[in-house]
Subunit: 173 residues, 2 copies
């Protein structure tokens, strides 16, 4: 349902076509959402079938084929509100990406574990510096394109936590 929440959230600001949604997720939102191209069109179809959004054919000049843009309906806005509250309300027993991998880390040899941890340290450092760059860029612009200011601090916070843990384990090896 999170893809629905994400897409409905973006459509609240005005109609978009599929490719633009993908572009916003990848470019403006810092690329953490990791939504496959096919998933977007798939979700658009389903949400249209559920009357959460409605499609309009929009012809383009220059002989380009018409694009299908999707606008959110009243039902879509209501569903967005519902999903948003559902997300905020659920906290029970959530796990984090590497959790299961960590549970069995003692099955790796010390050398292999070290090399994994070092690779993660490098990757996390890179992602974090990219995030900082992006944050500066977005927050520097007069108008924040997506209504998202806190995503950066939240995402940053977990990435930093992961990096700290990684370094701690590396230090204790």
């Amino acid at each position: 349902m999170s893809v629905r929440l994400l897409m409905l959230g973006l459509l609240r600001n005005g109609p978009l076509h599929g490719y633009e949604i993908k572009r916003i997720i990848e470019t403006e939102m810092g690329d953490w959402a990791n939504v496959a191209a096919g998933s977007i069109y798939f979700a658009l179809d389903k949400m249209a079938a559920d009357a959460l959004i409605e499609e309009k054919e929009v012809s383009q000049d220059g002989g380009r084929p018409a694009r299908t843009i999707y606008g959110i309906t009243a039902a879509g806005r209501a569903e967005f509100e519902r999903l948003l509250r559902e997300t905020w309300g659920s906290i029970d027993r959530q796990s984090f990406p590497l959790d299961i991998g960590v549970a069995f880390m003692e099955c790796l040899s010390r050398e292999e574990l070290r090399s994994f941890l070092e690779a993660r340290e490098r990757a996390l450092t890179g992602i974090l510096s990219g995030l900082k760059e992006h944050r500066k860029e977005v927050e520097g612009s007069p108008e924040v394109p997506v209504q998202a200011r806190f995503i950066f601090s939240h995402h940053h916070c977990h990435l930093q936590a992961e990096l700290d843990w990684t370094r701690e384990v590396l230090g204790s090896l």
Copy 2:
């Protein structure tokens, strides 16, 4: 695939039946994995079909019905190794549970947001203190039942990060 990794990891120590796997996940592992009862039997069937595990009927005394226990095969061990390395190797663009909710948090009124944040603060505090209790219990016992010592520090680390962020946002409201 993570349920497979989790279950194969548990079966590495010796054969188990479905209910016991569930018990271990819920009781010994701190209950963060959140695996539905049906999913376990479902996964057991599939892994047996893939020859990663093999089933044995074990009769019980006291007139109880025979249980089906599952033992890991050589192929299962190999698959476990593969999945473990896959998990450790993947770091690209991972998102955290509340990420999308945070992206649209400005759609909530200040009062509603505050009440959500306060509820999360309470919930997280509770989960964290439960985790600490459990950690003490497990680490105090002479033999750690599951080969998992670091799951606690990792999980704790992200929960603490979430709590810190929650308090930070609450403070800035």
